[in-house]
Amino acid sequence: MWSDVEQKELEEILKKYPTKRSALLPALYLAQREKNWLDDDDILAVAEALEVPVTDVQAVIGFYTLFRREPTGKHMIHVCTDLPCALRGAEDFYARLTRRLGLPSEGGTTADGLFTLEAVPCLAACDKAPMCQIDLQYYENLTDEMIDTVLAQFRAEAQQESGA
């Protein structure tokens, strides 16, 4: 499961902790990095590397929302719809976004596999709502036009990549 690079990184991670079990979160991030989600083999590999029961690994993944057990789109879009953001129209913004992406109200992955949309609680930018996080980048004070522009850029990038 682990590539050579990952194997080396894993060894580095393990050095930082007194017991292998303690390295569970960073090891899971490492396992998820390549394809953005964790399959059964990944979980088994982490369990074996850290000498932790596979059920415990699964329970940790289940607890944390940023570990995924199903394939996602190329880019993750997190829209905060918590109360302060909702007061600035984030809920409506999110609802419109799902429709424009052709997704159900609970979000999901677009048909072209480019985006996965999720409503999330606080991203600590209440004063700049509506806002979202795409991958690691924040986009704030959003309007429909602004997000369309951003999404169009991602689409163009993707097309370029596949063309090239």
Partner: protein
Amino acid sequence: MSELVNVTIDGVEVQVPKGTLIVEAAKRAGTEIPVFCYHSKLDPVGMCRMCLVTVGTPVRNRETGEFEVDDNGKQVIRFFPKPMTACTTPVSPGMVVITQSEESIADRRGILEFLLTSHPLDCPVCDKGGECSLQDLTYAYGPGVSQFYLEDKHHSPKKEPLGDLIYLDSERCILCARCVRFEDEIAGDPVLAIDNRGRNSKIVSYSNPKFDSKYSGNTTDICPVGALTTRDFRFGARAWELESTPSVCNLCGVGCNTVLNTRFDEIKRVMPRQNEALNEIWLCDKGRFGHHFNGSQNRLTTPLIKKNGQFEAASWDEALALVARKLELSKEKTGGVAGAHLSNEDLYIFQKLFRTVLGSNNIDHRIGLNANWDDQLAFEVGAGVGTDIGRLKSESAILVLGADLDEEAPVLYLRVRGSARRGAHLINAGGRWTKLDNIAEKSLRYRYGAESALAWGLVAAVLDEGLENKDFVAARVDGFEGLIDAMKSFTPTRAAEQSGVSEDDIRAAARTFAKAENGVVLYGLESGGNESLQAAIKTLLLITGHAGSANNGAIAVLPHANSRGAADMGIVPNRLPGYRPVEGEAGLSAHEMLSPDAPLPALYIVAADPAAQSARYKAAIEATEFVVVQDLFMTETAQLADVVLPARGTAERDGSFTSVERWVQAFDNAVSAPALAWADWLAFTALAGKMGASWSYASADGVMAEITQTVPLYAEMNFDNLTRPISLERKMSHYIYSGTSFTADTREGLQWRSVAEASEAKMPVAFIAPADVPPAEGMTLVAPRVLYDGGTLIAQAEVVSAHIQPAHAVISRKDAAQLGITADDSVTLTVPGASVTVPVRLNGLVPQGIVLVPRNLSGFPAEKLLGSKRLTAVKITKVPVAELA
């Protein structure tokens, strides 16, 4: 005794040891604080919040440090501003607890309303209904209505297999995590966890296979709601319709106390019967689910006589008359094999039949790979009466030698593990990794065959370092000087060379064992149990003073439900009941009786299936002129018989078993037997009658009455004593009624005293040099025991059929790599004169050079290869897939 503190709970003052939790202290004060997540067998976690109580402590004057008193001279109590969880708060001196404050009552009501937000309230169809904590506590403390919206209830699948034997209904689950904690803490199988969070939290298992634990059934007992149910009892009966009969598990030697819950003359479920000295409140899955053999359609229902190669139904009278006629002819040349599943009463009458009516000492209970093990240790230095192997602490050492307790005696594993968790020094000596290594303080990995060398090495290290218990040696040991002389040449260094365990490890283990206040040795099948080993264990126990008192001595982990009883009752060719030597010549062992070269004229085989085990035994039985088989099922041996007699199962009769810890325990009749099946002792008695004896036993009780007269060890073991109800006082102080059926507290057994306890006499020690086993060239075959083997009874219990292990061999991954073998392959194992082909399993924990083929599997591959040997060199070759097809 630890320091005591005074606390007042609901106005009742009680004294409890410092550190006691409020919930436990309250029990002493006669108050039951409601709990869900708390269980006295598990570590407290405070998850469910049901046990909230109001707690106050005496106020001290900050300047003087004195307790403040009010105008009436009473201590001033300051109550904590918030309620406390009684399950996690230890008492402190002068603490005042109010469990019925208005605040606490409101808290409980709120917690219950919250726990019930998504509860389906399907008590009328729930298996737990009638014995459910949630139901009981809701009646006692809950609100009658909910403020939550019905539409917002969570729904999830009603029947989700959590494992092969256990179903999860997560709508009913209140997330107390008792099941998760049981598997982590008690069983050491961390295979359950809570997945996700908040309202989506759910119990999951991702082990392969799911819920991979031999103790899974216990989670359904301790589940305080109906979330976990067993596959076989699901919708089987309502708890209040069940009748409860106290019984003893007959599937291994631990002697777990059980309750057989029956309805309409059918066993609906088997529950643990609490016995803190034996199984606490636990059962393994084999014991819980294995009972289904009783109701099997394949039971023998009538005596059968073979005429012209065909069995024909006959009456008992006809069948016994024929047997009597034939045995009159063979008389003292008759051979008798009795399986150690039989009760003490059966075994006693069996040997009496042979020794007094037939005049034959040819009786044995040991066949196949158990044939060489004749345990005398328990008789001489058995762990003292009152030994509590599950509650030892740091003052004690436990040495496990050649026993895979998790597979051989599961509940004993739980108990030893429990002691190790509480600080007992556990030394696990074995030829390979076993589960106790997970928790052992020290693991000694010896070379197979060198068990006695290791044991004598421990003795040598004790002597070399002068660690012997000098007072005990002076008072109780004979031949100590001679021992020192004899062992001059056998040093710890020599033991290290022979056993493959480093000298440092041997010395360290010897120090731990010798310095501990208490010391227990458990030795099992893989240790070989030969004379030299038994002498070494006996010597080790005696010179360290670990004999003759509670929590000190040896426990032989014998294979069957009544292996101990069979040894006690003299079902061996060389000893009478009570470990007295036979007068005159010893008889033949089972192995000698089952010899095709010198067949006996007649064999009486009871509750054993030697023909299935090896071609040699089968040929011997075929060559025997007259064979009687008495069993529950038409076994391979029965098919070769001239007369087959139907016997009753444990549940269908009464009797007693003696556990590996020498607990003699009575079991009662719970259900009717099929048609003409008889209890074994009755068949032997009737046969003796036909042969001229006039025995007048009317019941198992009556047989035991005679045993108390003739076998001094059993003098106290009459059924009045064995079935005496537990006193109310003991019930109150001792029993927890949480995870067991309410009628579970009926009786406890009795232990007989070993020689070391029974007298003050000196006991001899002598060095018997261990055989020097050089490291084997090539691979060595070892036959361990597995829980779910191909035993006659368990094979008839369909519910566990998925767990029954097919014939297979296990080798290390390293050996597999060298031999080019993968996990999908089969291998042919060859020894001179025999060869078997079985699928192979790879395991990183098996030592290199070892092939494990569990004994007693379907087709008996291990028995075929080993004959009567314990270990053998074996050639292993990969079988190409094409050849198999």
